[in-house]
Symmetry: C2
Subunit: 594 residues, 2 copies
């Protein structure tokens, strides 16, 4: 039994100054967590109880699919991460440190390398596989902008699991098991999720899905279609038009350079084109020019983890912006930053406002990498800068007049864009990443030489999967979903207590009766939170009870004299008057009904 | 049920190359732990089960005395540790790191500062106290010499608890509660401990006791007397003889300088004295000179955490060595290193081999700090160097002919030395520190300004206690105590499983019967480890069973045809033949009997 009179629980009337979201505000105010540094939190007694319940559900579902729990240190040596490339790839997101001998260590952001090495240590035959290992453990990432309480922190508890198989089919089976375990886990946590195709990003690998919980406070944007497509925006592939064949291309009007004084932006260029060449545009009925065909060229400096840098020009239809997250995912582990004035000065071929494909490409004299949006296919016709002040090229046909070093998925995805699987138009939605499952494939096993003997006595590289759930973030997501203006309203399976007994008033008989009820409920196996504080007003106690958010509470107060106590339901607000003789059974029934 | 055929358990026939002690050797060989870096270990599935059982016992005993569990991050900001002085005092033992903004952080060795600040955040009145908080969490210390597997590591799991009281009497009550909880905890873990007076060392504070588990592999030396005294050697205080009064001192022979050619060591000086001045020595019957009264002067460079250094001369009776650990504790947080030749050259007053008190002391011209052993009391008479080559002073009386800046407890403690409480001669014993309880007093609360309003409305500084148990070390200590030449032999309450079923032989009926027994035992609520590996020889399975150390095992093998299976007791080696119909009840009875 937790007695509020002597417990390390203090509620706050004021919101923390830095709280942007409800979960942060309420978890701090209700005394569940406490900030100890930027993006680093302390779990107070009630918060820890919720955290442990989340962990337990996660563990049970991992165990149910044959997961075996282990525990790695957060402190790990540099070498395995050097071999995998992550020591560099993670850049400033990695907490690095040296020991007294100046040997390099890191605080692990995840443990792919260490699990790989440990399996390599213990296993040597295909008969040892498949195996599924997991841990529930503190991870560290030096986020640039920790924010929103537990939603984006620099230390967080994560369940990370890894599967090891000999064959691709085996990996598919392991992946499906985790996929099912994740669905059951989030269901038990009371968190609706959408399974989205994801970009594998810096982790390498092939099949990759995120479990996104739709919420306006989420940092991730994802898309869904009515036909069932769902993907992280980073993973959306663009529907490209069909390319023309050579004969069709040959029949298109020839390119021509025009003076376009002052048309240094896409908007100005479209406006100029409609003024100077009315009716010559590609819109069938009107001959109008639109921003779409004004091919926009954007220049970035691409910096690799090793510090080397090169320019990159990206061409997108003029009506699209670059989505920084899609760009980031497309160029990872390199970082793309917009070209500075100084950068432009170093490359005179890049004439600001009038950049076109002329002179670009790795094969060209400039050697500047040039990538185009997937909508730029052979036979598409564009207007682009001519590389000279106040000049543009019209009827510039891709595959005839210019080529590129490849395509890039960096343009924004918009509401109404077609789903790549043809399942209808996309809708943009905000969500929070709760879990992520990947088929890593053989990347880590190759790098760290994890091989086993197969059935024929030949060595085979093991194929792996990696499966993460943000445990601390799940606590925040639950708090975000289950609250109202008065405070938290925990789902029963995650509440820090089964029942909250509130004794209000001054009479000793009230406290005696509350004590009896609390004791009997505890004897019946319930976790009881008992507000036994003397000299605290009923108003304060009710407010605290609503803020703390235990699903069921019992108020023992003035009405005791008339032979009743109150049974309150936090979520519905319902209040029932019940006799003290019946209250214990009523509470037990309520709690067990869940 | 853990099935060995598919579990992440692999036993090794070879000892790890770096294993010095049985617990290290066996925990690695049995597949409980795995090294990932110097002093950093990974917990494999069976090891994690034992670890969790130890943690659970620790938690239950903390909860039973009203402890409230919280959880702090290992990653903490520099500032609070700067204020307490530990950022510097811990020297190279602290893992320090910087984040992307170049702000300083550390991996906490313990969390006194953070608990103090959190209580300060939440509490403001004497009515809020006393409170007892604890956590079970990973700690980091950059040990110079990690060794002996889990016995001395750089990452380890620790239960650290902190009590907060308004009054000294309250602190005494909290301290006694923890003391009792520790006794019950170690009893439940099956680890005999001796409660030893300890030196509070770098932690500050007053009352301090260590729970030492007597074992030859322990790194701590402690002393016990038949009368019940027990102390860490660092904490032993020397029984000093009674001082003489001024009249008695005046009656002693006057000091005199003698030529002592070549007597540059204590041994040579004693030998010379007996040759040159036979019968003039202090031994009553014979007039013999002994090494005791040849006052030995040792010179150290004392380096403070801030890097400043000063010389220190220590005088001890010539028959005693300096104990490095007692010296370390006496000068902490400074470090004492023996004077180098270069150091001696800088201080000509320190004539090697002939150093005496002349010219020493903070008040003297040299300003060199001079401390003496507690046996050097007023009226004691000594032979010491005269500060000149080949000369010593005889009949040099402390309090008349020389004084010092104070005393220091740095001389070795020896078997037979008197206990400071008069409880008889001391015996030296080796032990392992399993727990440590301290009265920190107001040191941290003063430094971090933790005050509450007392009953009279005045601000009062809170007084604190700090209480630690090495959880990972406890696993090693148990393995160290409970094993034999064949392997581990866990006490029942900590074993990774209740029963180990071993199916040996080739017949399907053997595996079917083993499966049935394993299933029924699991249905009865037991944790079952089932060696279901096909094509593994009985010899290997028996060896593994002995190595893994589950207290009870059931062998289903050839004798099944004659209607029996074997019930084996790991600790006693006893084997009973039991019918398959009765085995489940027999095992349950065995397990429940504990």
């Amino acid at each position: 039994m937790i007695r509020l009179s002597s417990s390390f629980v203090r509620t706050l009337r004021e919101d923390p100054a830095d709280a942007e979201v409800a979960s942060h505000r309420l978890l701090v105010r209700a005394g569940y967590i406490r900030r100890s540094a930027a993006g680093v939190y302390t779990w107070l007694p009630l918060g820890l109880k919720v955290l442990r319940k989340v962990e337990q559900i996660v563990r049970e579902e991992q165990d149910a699919i044959g997961g075996q729990e282990v525990l790695f240190s957060a402190l790990q040596p540099r070498e395995p991460y050097e071999i995998s490339g992550r020591w560099e790839d993670y850049g400033p997101n990695l907490f690095r440190l040296q020991d007294r001998k100046q040997d390099d260590y890191l605080l692990a952001p995840t443990h792919e390398e260490m699990f790989t090495l440990t399996v390599k240590d213990l296993f040597s035959s295909y008969k040892d596989l498949p195996t599924m290992l997991y841990q529930v453990q503190s991870k560290y990432r030096d986020e640039a902008r920790p924010r929103a309480g537990l939603l984006r922190t620099r230390e967080f508890i994560m369940k990370d699991a890894y599967s090891f198989d000999v064959s691709d089919e085996g990996l598919d089976v392991s992946y499906e098991k985790q996929r099912g375990a994740y669905q059951r886990t989030f269901e038990r946590l009371g968190l609706p999720t959408v399974i989205c195709q994801a970009d594998a990003g810096a982790m390498g690998g092939s099949r990759s899905e995120e479990f996104l919980h739709p919420t306006t406070v989420g940092e991730d944007t994802f898309v869904v279609s009515d036909g069932g497509y769902a993907a992280n925006v980073e993973a959306v592939t663009t529907m490209a038009p069909a390319a023309l064949d050579d004969a069709e291309i040959a029949a298109l009007p020839a390119m021509h350079i025009e003076d376009t004084p002052g048309a240094s932006t896409i908007a100005k260029l479209a406006e100029f084109s409609n003024r100077a060449f009315p009716g010559k545009g590609p819109i069938t009925e009107t001959g109008e020019w639109t921003r779409f065909e004004m091919l926009k060229h954007l220049v970035y400096l691409l910096t690799s983890p090793d510090g080397s840098a090169e320019p990159l020009v990206i061409a997108v239809p003029g009506d699209r912006e670059i989505d920084p997250k899609r760009l980031e995912a497309a160029v990872a582990p390199a970082l793309a930053t917009p070209f500075s004035e100084a950068d432009f000065e170093k490359h005179p071929v890049l004439k600001k406002g009038y950049i076109g494909p002329e002179g670009l490409g790795l094969e060209s004299e400039s050697g500047i990498r040039y990538l185009v949006d997937p909508r730029v296919v052979p036979g598409t016709s564009w207007v682009a800068g001519a590389g000279e002040q106040d000049q543009h090229v019209y009827d510039l046909v891709f595959g005839r007049d210019f080529t590129a070093d490849g395509t890039i998925e960096a343009a924004e995805v918009r509401d109404g864009d077609p789903a790549p699987d043809g399942s209808g138009p996309l809708r943009l939605t905000r969500g929070m990443e709760m879990g992520h499952i990947f088929q890593l494939g053989r990347k880590y096993a190759e790098a760290l030489d994890l091989k086993v003997l197969d059935e024929n006595g030949k060595t085979a590289v093991v194929t792996m999967g990696s499966y993460g759930i943000g445990v601390t973030r799940a606590v925040a997501a639950v708090a975000e979903l289950y609250h109202d203006e008065k405070g938290l309203a925990w789902p029963r399976q995650l509440a820090p207590a089964d029942v909250h007994i509130v004794a209000t008033g001054k009479g000793q008989e009230i406290f005696d009766e509350a004590e009896r009820i609390a004791g009997e409920l505890e004897a019946r196996g319930l976790d009881v939170l008992y507000d036994d504080r003397p000299k605290v007003s009923p108003g304060v106690k009710f407010k605290d009870s609503e803020l703390l958010g235990v699903p069921t509470s019992v108020v023992v107060g003035r009405s005791l004299a008339e032979g009743t106590v109150e049974l309150r339901d936090r979520a519905s607000g319902e209040i029932r008057e019940i006799s003290p003789q019946e209250i214990v059974d009523a509470v037990v029934a309520e709690v067990r009904s869940a």
